[in-house]
C-alpha cells in the first residue's frame, strides 16, 4: 500500500513539473511577441536605450501614426488583402473541383491525374523556369504573379480528396438515383456537408497568401505592387541599419519602434482569427496528411 501511495505522489510531482515546463514553453512562444507590442508603444529614447522588456515605457502612439500614414505601408497592405482574398477564392475553387473527381474510385483516368499532381508536387521546376514563365507572359510586377504560384497546393488537394472520400457513399448514391449528375451532387449535397473542411482549406490558403513574399522576391521590383511582407522585410532591414547607426531618426522616432508597430499591425489579422479556427487547422492536418 505504501509503495502505491509513493508512486502516486511521484506521478503527481511529475505531472506538476510537466505542467510547469509547458507553461515556460508557452511563455517562450508568447514573450517575444509581448516584447514587440511593448516596443511598438514605447517612446524613442527608451527603445534606443534598450530599456523595454514586456511593457511600454513613455507610452506613445506616434509609431502607429507614422506607420499607418506611410503611403507604402497602406498600398502594400491593400495589395496583400487583394492577393489573399482573390487568391483564396480561386485556389479554393480549383482545389474543390479537382479533388471531387479524384475522390471517386470509379473516376476513369484518376490514377494518371493523381500521378500528375504527385509528380509536380515532388519535382520543382526551378525558380528560373517560373521566372521565364512570368516574364514571357508579361506578368512581372503584377499582383497576378503573386496569386498564380499558390493557386493550387497539391497538399491541400489531397487533404480535400480525403475529406470527400470520408462522406458516406449512400448519401451521394441517393442523389444519383434521383438523377442528379456529379456537379449537382457536389454542389447540393457534398459541399454543404463539407463546410468545416472547406473552411480549413480556405484558411490554409489564406495564411499562405497573407504570409507569402518569396514569389514577390522573384517577380516584383516595383514598390506599388509589393505585398505587405515585402514591405516589412525592407522596413526591417533598413530600420535595422538606421537603428544601428543613428538611433534617433529626424522625426524623433526610433527605427525599432516603427518596425515593431508595423509587425504588430501586420500580424493582427492572423492573431485575431487564429484562436477561433485553430481546431479546424488541427483537424485538417491530422486527417489528410497521411494515407493509412
Amino acid at each position: 500500500m505504501k509503495a502505491a501511495a509513493q508512486k502516486q505522489t511521484a506521478e503527481r510531482v511529475g505531472r506538476t513539473i510537466n505542467g510547469l515546463l509547458l507553461f515556460i514553453l508557452a511563455l517562450i512562444c508568447v514573450l517575444p511577441f509581448m516584447h514587440m507590442i511593448a516596443k511598438s508603444f514605447s517612446g524613442a529614447s527608451a527603445v534606443s536605450a534598450g530599456r523595454i522588456t514586456f511593457w511600454p515605457l513613455d507610452a506613445t502612439l506616434n509609431t502607429y501614426r507614422y506607420v499607418l500614414q506611410d503611403g507604402l505601408f497602406f498600398s502594400s497592405f491593400k495589395n496583400s488583402v487583394t492577393i489573399t482574398l482573390a487568391g483564396t477564392f480561386v485556389a479554393l475553387a480549383i482545389t474543390t473541383m479537382a479533388a471531387y473527381p479524384l475522390s471517386k474510385q470509379y473516376f476513369r483516368g484518376r490514377k494518371v491525374i493523381l500521378m500528375l499532381y504527385v509528380f509536380t508536387m515532388l519535382f520543382y521546376g526551378g525558380m528560373v523556369s517560373i521566372y521565364i514563365f512570368m516574364r514571357s507572359l508579361n506578368l512581372l510586377n503584377t499582383l497576378l504573379s503573386q496569386i498564380i504560384p499558390l493557386a493550387l497546393s497539391q497538399y491541400n488537394l489531397f487533404i480535400m480528396k480525403t475529406f470527400f472520400e470520408g462522406i458516406p457513399e449512400p448519401i451521394e448514391e441517393s442523389a444519383h438515383i434521383d438523377g442528379a449528375g456529379p456537379i449537382r451532387t457536389l454542389v447540393s449535397i457534398v459541399l454543404p456537408l463539407s463546410l468545416p473542411s472547406l473552411a480549413t482549406i480556405a484558411l490554409f490558403y489564406a495564411v499562405a497568401y497573407w504570409n507569402s513574399y518569396y514569389h514577390a522576391m522573384l517577380f516584383v521590383t516595383r514598390a506599388d505592387v509589393k505585398p505587405l511582407q515585402m514591405y516589412l522585410y525592407e522596413l526591417i532591414t533598413t530600420a535595422q541599419n538606421l537603428y544601428e547607426v543613428d538611433p534617433v531618426i529626424a522625426s524623433g522616432l526610433s527605427g525599432g519602434g516603427m518596425q515593431a508597430a508595423a509587425i504588430v499591425v501586420s500580424t493582427m489579422p492572423i492573431l485575431m482569427v487564429y484562436p477561433f479556427v485553430q481546431k479546424y487547422f488541427v483537424k485538417g492536418l491530422t486527417i489528410g496528411s497521411v494515407k493509412g
Binding site: 506521478e11 510537466n18 509547458l22 508557452a26 512562444c29 517575444p32 516584447h35 514587440m36 516596443k39 534598450g50 530599456r51 522588456t53 480549383i94 482545389t95 473541383m97 479537382a98 471531387y100 473527381p101 474510385q105 473516376f107 476513369r108 491525374i113 499532381y117 504527385v118 509536380t120 519535382f123 520543382y124 526551378g126 525558380m127 528560373v128 523556369s129 517560373i130 521565364i132 514563365f133 514571357s136 498564380i148 493557386a151 493550387l152 457513399e169 448514391e173 449528375g181 456529379p182 456537379i183 504570409n211 513574399y213 522576391m217 511582407q229 516589412l232 522585410y233 544601428e244 525599432g256 515593431a260 509587425i263 492573431l271 485553430q278 492536418l285 491530422t286 496528411s289 497521411v290 493509412g292
Partner: protein, 318 residues
C-alpha cells in the same frame, strides 16, 4: 468496403462512351486543376534546357525566343559546377543545416507531444496548445523582425548580457552562432505545429493498455517504453522518412530572409545561392543547372523514402 465496390460495379463495367455520357462532368470539374498543373508546373519545365545552353538574353526577340535560340553547350555547366569548390561548400552547408534541424527539431516535437499528452486539465491543455501552435502562422519575415529586435547588438538580450557579464553575442554576424539561430528559430516556429501529428497518434492509443500497465505496477517510464512509444513508432518512422526525403531543403525561405553577407560562409545553401545568381545576377544557365541538380536529387530522395515507407511501414504520402 465490399458494399462500396458493389455500388460502383455499374460505372466500372460500362463502355467508355456510355460512361462518359453519364460522368462527363467529372472531367469538366478536373479541367481547371489540369490547366493549372500543365500550364504552370509542366510547361515551364522547358526552361530547364537552359542548364544545357549558354543563355543569351539577346539571342532572340523576347525572353522565350532567346531561350530557344541560345546555343547548346552540353554538360559544360554541370562540369564546372561539380568541379567548383563553391558547390561542395554549398552542399555541405545545406546538409549541415538540414541535419542540425533534423537532430534538434525532430525529437523536440515528439517530446512536446508527449508532454502535452500528459496534461489532464482540459483548459490548460487547450490554452497551451493554442499558444505553442501560434508561431507556425507567422511568416518568416515577421519572425525575423521579432528576433532581430530581440537579438541585435542593441536588443534586449544583448543589453541584459552586457549588464550581467559585460559581453555580447553576435547572433547575426557570427557564422557559427548564426547556424544555431536558424535551427532554434525554426524550433520556435514549428515545434508546436509538428507535435500535432504525434499528439493525434498518442490520443489514439487505447486507454485500456495504460490501465493494464498501471495495474501491473508499471511506472511512467515503463509505460512510456512499453505502451506509448510502440503506439507512435509508425508515425515517427513515417515522419522521419519524409524529413530524410526533404534533406536538401534546409529551409530556403527562412534563410533568404534571415541571412546576410557576413554569414554566407555557413548559411549560404544551394537554393539561396541559386536565387542570388539566377534572379540577382540573371545568370540563368548556371542557376538552372544547379536548380536541376537540386530538384532531381530531391525528387529521387523523396520517391525512395516514400517507397521505403510504403514497403516497411505500409504507409505512404501518395
Amino acid at each position: 468496403m465490399q458494399g462500396f465496390l458493389k455500388s460502383h460495379s455499374v460505372p466500372g463495367k460500362m463502355r467508355f462512351g456510355q460512361y462518359f455520357r453519364r460522368y462527363w462532368s467529372l472531367y469538366l470539374l478536373s479541367i481547371p486543376g489540369l490547366i493549372y498543373v500543365v500550364g504552370y508546373k509542366i510547361l515551364p519545365l522547358i526552361g530547364l534546357q537552359l542548364a544545357f545552353k549558354n543563355f543569351d538574353m539577346f539571342a532572340g526577340q523576347g525572353i522565350l525566343d532567346s531561350l530557344f535560340k541560345s546555343e547548346w553547350v552540353g554538360l559544360k555547366h554541370f562540369e564546372s559546377i561539380f568541379r567548383s569548390r563553391n558547390f561542395t561548400h554549398l552542399l555541405a552547408n545545406t546538409l549541415t543545416i538540414s541535419l542540425m534541424k533534423l537532430a534538434i527539431n525532430f525529437p523536440l516535437a515528439i517530446v512536446l507531444a508527449l508532454m502535452l499528452n500528459e496534461v489532464k486539465n482540459r483548459i490548460f491543455a487547450r490554452v497551451t496548445q493554442t499558444v505553442v501552435y501560434m508561431p507556425h502562422f507567422l511568416s518568416w519575415v515577421i519572425i525575423h523582425g521579432i528576433f532581430v529586435t530581440l537579438l541585435s547588438s542593441n536588443g534586449v538580450v544583448n543589453h541584459t548580457l552586457r549588464a550581467v557579464s559585460g559581453k555580447t553575442i553576435d547572433f547575426y554576424t557570427n557564422p557559427q552562432i548564426f547556424r544555431w539561430l536558424l535551427v532554434l528559430t525554426e524550433s520556435w516556429k514549428e515545434t508546436g505545429w509538428s507535435a500535432i501529428v504525434y499528439l493525434a497518434g498518442l490520443t489514439a492509443i487505447d486507454e485500456e493498455l495504460y490501465d493494464a500497465a498501471y495495474v501491473d505496477g508499471a511506472g511512467y517510464l515503463k509505460r512510456l517504453w512499453h505502451v506509448t512509444l510502440p503506439g507512435i513508432i509508425p508515425i515517427i518512422s513515417l515522419m522521419l522518412l519524409l524529413r530524410m526525403g526533404g534533406i536538401l531543403g534546409a529551409g530556403h525561405e527562412q534563410i533568404l530572409v534571415m541571412y546576410n553577407s557576413t554569414v554566407y560562409a555557413t548559411a549560404d545553401v544551394l537554393s539561396t545561392y541559386i536565387y542570388r545568381i539566377g534572379i540577382g545576377k540573371l545568370d540563368f544557365s548556371v542557376a538552372t543547372a544547379l536548380g536541376l541538380f537540386e530538384s532531381t536529387v530531391g525528387f529521387i530522395l523523396m520517391v525512395s523514402c516514400n517507397g521505403i515507407s510504403r514497403k516497411v511501414l505500409g504507409r505512404s504520402l501518395w
